[in-house]
Symmetry: C2
Subunit: 376 residues, 2 copies
């Protein structure tokens, strides 16, 4: 998968940009606030129709009273075909076109995939369980249609459950009636919940060995150890059988029956579970340095790239926004070594010129200097 060309108009701080000469590694170098991350964001729009910074359409338009419309146009090749993707932004709308026809984020997702590492990625470790679940769930959606379906069905099932619980809480339905509906939903709820847990655990187990070896490579230390634990009600469940998961969820669901009625919400199930990143036996959220956390998330992101290749025999595009900060010079070097070994197309931003030297030897790198919304 490769981005062949990129055109921008009125996108963030870019008036016009046209670029048709990307190589395998593309490095955007510039001072702070020149537009480096904006370029990565635009590339991600071309690949997925989405901002990795959660930006709304109105935030994309260049700040200039006269600007009412912004455009990202990308040409992306995959295997033998090349597609033209256009994202057209107005203040309150975004339209996606694929080869001249109206399209959507979900259609792009079926064709293209990009793995993004940016400063915000650290929130996967630092924030609550929701972001960690999302990290793996989003990847499940990409990697397996079957597992994505299980997830979709589970989300619908929980929505129904919650609707019933809420209706009972607000008196729109009697508690007896609600109980009957919930009881009839219970077998399918437990089944879907168990399947979703299995899907997550399988995904974790498939990418962890890859992440492990990348992490050891970054720290040049065969003795460091990273893994991910799956946590159900404060208990490590990574090694549980499907039956164990089912029994546990079922028992807990019985226990929390009344509490669920009181709050009008489903309190048991995979939407409450945690996935914990473990370094040398300790929860990375509390015991790791900033640099270790960064290297660990990066290792799991690169593991996703490798896993995607295993499934689709093609590499996703890797977007790396300010990947080197907070890391010491040895760590930076090891990460560059790893990038050189991965045939994925890479776009990265940095404020320092130093890192380029190492890449130059192989001549597969192109440097773009970014200054105030212009590539020099």
């Amino acid at each position: 998968m490769r981005l062949e060309s990129l055109k921008l108009r009125n996108f963030r701080n870019f008036i016009e940009l046209e670029c048709a000469s990307f190589l395998q590694v593309n490095m955007f170098i510039g001072k702070n606030a020149q537009g480096k991350s904006n370029i990565l964001e635009s590339i991600n729009f071309a690949l997925s129709g989405e901002s990795f910074r959660g930006a709304k359409s109105s935030e994309i338009l260049r700040r200039d009273g006269a600007v009412t419309n912004a455009v990202v146009e990308g040409s992306v090749s995959r295997l033998s075909s090349t597609d033209k993707i256009v994202c057209d932004f107005t203040n309150d709308n975004k339209q996606i076109q694929l080869n001249g026809k109206n399209s959507s984020k979900s259609k792009l997702r079926q064709k293209y995939f990009s793995v993004i590492f940016c400063p915000e990625s650290l929130s996967i470790v630092k924030n609550g369980p929701a972001e960690r679940r999302k990290f793996f769930d989003d990847f499940i959606d990409v990697i397996s249609i079957e597992k994505a379906q299980i997830r979709e069905e589970y989300v619908r099932c929980i929505a129904s459950r919650n609707r019933v619980l809420r209706n009972a809480l607000f008196g729109k339905m009697s508690h007896k009636e609600a109980r009957e509906v919930l009881d009839s939903l219970q077998p399918i709820f437990l089944q879907l919940a168990t399947k979703l847990v299995s899907a997550r655990v399988e995904t974790i187990k498939s990418i962890t060995p890859k992440a492990q070896s990348i992490f050891k490579g970054i720290f040049k230390n065969p003795n460091v150890d990273i893994s991910v634990d799956y946590v159900i009600s404060q208990q490590s469940a990574i090694a549980w059988s499907a039956n164990q998961v089912y029994d546990r969820l079922s028992a807990r669901s019985d226990d929390l029956r009344e509490a669920e009625q009181r709050v009008g919400q489903s309190l048991v199930g995979p939407h409450k579970h945690d996935v914990r990143f473990i370094v040398n036996g300790h929860d990375s959220r509390h015991y790791c340095s900033q640099g270790q956390q960064r290297a660990m998330i990066l290792a799991y992101k690169i593991a996703q790239v490798l896993q995607y290749y295993e499934v689709y025999k093609e590499y996703p595009v890797l977007l790396l926004d300010d990947v080197f900060s907070e890391l010491d010079s040895e760590r930076r070097k090891s990460i560059l070594e790893i990038f050189k070994e991965i045939p994925a197309q890479i776009f990265l931003t940095t404020t320092d010129i130093e890192e380029r030297k190492d890449f130059d030897k192989k001549k597969r790198i192109k440097i773009f200097k970014v200054k105030d919304g212009i590539i020099e």
Copy 2:
């Protein structure tokens, strides 16, 4: 205010550390995961009895089966006196002693103050309004006893209001009864709410000119502009009079009366307001680069240091964890220039040796090399 000496035992990855030779600027240099941030965290314990990373007592103890106790001991001078502060950690408890007598975080807060900038500080911009409110509210508590009292009373008032609303929701109280209590609370609620808004706006207005000039200094550009807006129900309220605030809160409280009963919570008041960081007229949360956001938070933190001096004629201690990352070399240099002008005692961590050169000229700097829990 100065940290004169520091002793650690079994704190994080430090078995033993003793240091009595701090200067005005103290730089901890080391590779990733050697313990640099742990030292800053221990200094913050000596000054405030708290971790700036929100660590629990059990997370402080060195990971070694035999360790059951950790100690931080700091000697801190302020004006003419010097105090000895000891924090003693066991797995589930922390004890603070000040000059040999049992003490508490709040007692330390009355005597000492440290301003901390760390990677997590960026969440002030990135996350929701709660963290931005906290940033200013915590400073209000330090800078003005009067305003801190208003805040405390408001928090108590909201707690009472919420209790009544919850009791009515869960049928422990009739809606009529609840309404009567809420009506009797309403005048004091509106008065406290208005006072708290004024306290926040005053604090914002007092530190913004300082932050402004620091930010211009970092970007070496007289035309960049930063400010903070106070936002009530999506409207800019930074220029409102107390009467305007009162009327607005009162009208909105009337409007949301029923909604409050439905959810059992207070939906109007300063605990719902936002404070927005504005750069060149745009909300920094959406329009700023990572480097700009970092520089802006740093500017507001340094403004707190200067404001503290204005009030107490003494500088707080400034702790800077990985302050240089994500910034280009020009920005790093300007920040170092600014640090040199502030007579506050500074402790900072970095992975790069480069920054020290510039400081050395004035000979007020001490370099500590940190390697695997040892200062070399």
